[in-house]
């Protein structure tokens, strides 16, 4: 069987989550590899979530937020941009392939952009193969 990557999606309530909804309601076809968690704002994302996702076996993590300047709360995504930029550098310097972590600004009206990005990310991850860098053994996963 072909390798189907597991992707954790973390989407902000106001833009990307609504954008993903739109992709669904307009019946766009895109791969079903993303499991999405909704957060109120991209700045709510604790970088440890991303490390944990990779430990629990995610092959990729996709974070989606509002376009800079469009944050529902004014500046949440500007803060998130710095946080996630550092997260990316940390993953990279630790030895995680940085292509496995992606941050995108997707507005509520960009259902097609959402579908395209998921498509592209899934394709990239298929090419990379399973993520085994941070992944921990199945039976020890119960502990955490």
């Amino acid at each position: 069987m072909d390798f189907e990557p597991k992707i954790l999606g973390i989407a902000c309530n106001w833009c990307t989550y609504t954008g993903a909804d739109l992709a669904g309601t307009t019946r766009l076809k895109y791969p079903q590899n993303v499991r999405t968690v909704r957060v109120m704002c991209s700045s709510r994302i604790n970088p440890s979530f991303i490390i944990r996702a990779f430990q629990l076996g995610a092959d990729g993590v996709l974070v989606g937020g509002c376009h800079p300047g469009d944050c529902h709360y004014g500046t949440g995504n500007l803060y998130a941009r710095r946080k996630l930029a550092i997260t990316k550098k940390i993953l990279e310097f630790a030895g995680m392939d940085q292509k496995r972590f992606r941050v995108e600004w997707i507005s509520a009206s960009e259902g097609n952009k959402y579908a395209e990005i998921v498509e592209e990310f899934t394709r990239d991850l298929k090419a990379l193969g399973p993520q085994n860098t941070f992944r921990i053994e199945k039976d020890s996963r119960e502990r955490i």
Binding site: S48, G95, T133
Partner: protein, 287 residues
Amino acid sequence: MTNIKQIEENLKREAKRLLESKEVSVVLAYARGYDEHHPLPYAARTAGEVGNLIFNEYCTYNLARYLTKYPPKTKIAIAVKAADSRAVVQLIQEEKVKKEDLVILGIPFIGMKDPKTGEEIDQKTTCHMANPVLYDILLGEEIRDAGAGSPYDVLAELEAMDQAARWSFWEKEFSKCIRCFACRKACPMCYCDPCFMDASRPRWADKSPTADGNLMYHLTRFYHLAGRCIDCGECSRACPMDIPLHLFHKKMAKECETMFGQAAGMKIDDKPVMVNYGNQDSDEMLK
């Protein structure tokens, strides 16, 4: 460069004056440990205790670590080397201490040595600056020439590795960690109480040092210190397992400087980089 004995004399003289005049209630400096090569951090509270103070090339500890332990408004004099002064500046930026409560005794010096190995540390594990960035009293002459080289030169080898090699390097290093938390204790910027590692909900890591917990601890700590670490190298010197934590912190400091155009702890009116975001930031940083 002022002779180290002279610095010690100046330190004692200023400490005595500050305590006698009641300008401060405590002087944070160093005293002899079990021998000359193993000094200890020391808080002198009376003019009589000033006799115990010492300063030599093994006094590496960053005393800014103790500033946040005192109740607000305590008047404190603190002896700082260059990197330590940056920690004080960073703590002021973060509103953890107030400049008006401090008398900063600056020590311009190059040539500190690791108490464990006797090796010179400036070039390898610290920010490689000679003069404190902020002080009220300078305990020696300003140094004009700190020597060539950037504090990030030591990163060359790790930066040249491919990803898989870097992961096997860190995986091996982190697997040595016994979770004694000496790194956290030594660090002037690790003042959170409770630390995320002590939380039970969510429980980020097992209490015992498992590989996954070590990874979570260290990567999260690197994140929490990014843009705040002032590159004193104390975390690595404190580590009983000799894990080169400073290399990761240095890399993050370098990245933050490149991305946000500001090094930690240089000026008191800078805003810490994590709250200094704005529309001017570019999406390039996420690539």
